[in-house]
Subunit: 220 residues, 2 copies
């Protein structure tokens, strides 16, 4: 079976790719949407796709999320909030309705190339409060795919790590021999991970809880 795998190049998508690779042939998809560390993410994506000898690969760019702003990830006028893993607030890095754009591109591509699954590394519990990372969101989107594509098209979104905590994702990645050293998570820098943003803090806590060192280099 052919599966589209949405991959940023981060830890979660790296482990999701490893999971998909056990079950399917891979059509790897990366979407640049004007996020600050795009160049570094794309490098991580390509390294992971190379590692798994992906059958198909597509990288594409969308400009409208950066054009409309509203997130510290795409709008340089908004500060990246310091990590606060206990907060219930939606952080400034929330990109309004972002995952719908990614899933729409994945679904169109899956329909064109005949893939039957879309893997995405969404994480609910440890997700810093993004509304579009919860299981009910993917259930709702699966219904949109079901009614919004050709009758003969069968595509299902699969979220293999949605219920895992970051430490469990690290553990699963190690079990699956995922190339964690090729992944990139930092929201702030492109050369050395900052170690201080939400995304770095979550990742480091995950490795720390497993008692293993993170194989990527940090500035602090």
């Amino acid at each position: 079976m052919l599966a589209v795998v949405l991959a940023s190049g981060g830890l979660d998508s790296c482990v999701t790719t490893a999971f998909a690779a056990k079950e399917c042939e891979l059509a790897m998809l990366h979407v640049s949407y004007g996020q600050r560390t795009e160049r570094r993410e794309l490098m991580a994506f390509n390294n992971i796709a190379d590692f798994y000898h992906a059958k198909e690969r597509m990288t594409t760019s969308i400009s409208h999320l950066a054009q409309m702003g509203g997130s510290s990830l795409t709008d340089s006028k908004i500060e990246v909030s310091p990590a606060n893993l206990e907060s219930k607030e939606i952080p400034t890095s929330y990109v309004p309705f972002r995952n719908a754009h990614l899933l729409s591109i994945a679904t169109s591509w899956a329909e064109v190339i005949g893939a039957n699954r879309i893997y995405i590394g969404a994480v609910a519990e440890d997700s810093s409060g993004y509304p579009d990372c919860r299981p009910e969101y993917y259930e709702a989107f699966n219904r949109v795919i079901d009614v919004g594509t050709k009758p003969e098209t069968k595509i299902e979104i699969v979220t293999p790590i949605i219920h895992l905590r970051k430490s469990e994702i690290v553990k699963l990645g190690i079990e699956l021999d995922a190339p964690l050293h090729l992944s990139w998570s930092c929201y702030k820098n492109e050369d050395l991970a900052c170690g201080a943003c939400d995304s770095c803090a979550l990742r480091l806590r995950g490795f720390n809880n497993v008692g293993l060192p993170d194989p990527i280099p940090y500035a602090i």
Copy 2:
């Protein structure tokens, strides 16, 4: 109330804009996705937005639908099928899962600017068989918006002409004083409407059934 209006510049979106203008302030949104007659559509969109003195206006471009192909609307290797209004087949102009891309952009923008409605001129009955033009598709997408945006965000998709036949849309447009002379529907040409593609055939039949001439110029 502020409403995002998704408008191609065609007859249906022209009448939908007229409908929205009776109820809301307008934030007009046009998405170019590599369709063949984009230059002409964009002109129609801007003329309609000018006519209604839209409060906000955004035009944006997405390249991925043309990049992946699969439709005669975006892929010059696929022929535009001749009109067949009786066929139950999905025509070659179907762009896989297109409306999800448009609705995702509209939803993100609505969340950023604080709009509470999204108007789209989808038409089910007379729609040439596109799966993403049916009421259940919009119900499903409303659920995705509900679970996939911030808790305080309230956005609803409104489809005012979804149950109308083309002739009823023409009639409604005339009742609402919609600037039908500024709209553009043809899939094939940019100077004079071809009069022969699915979209022209539907439009002409609509005016014909009402017993009125279409105010735009045709090649045949």
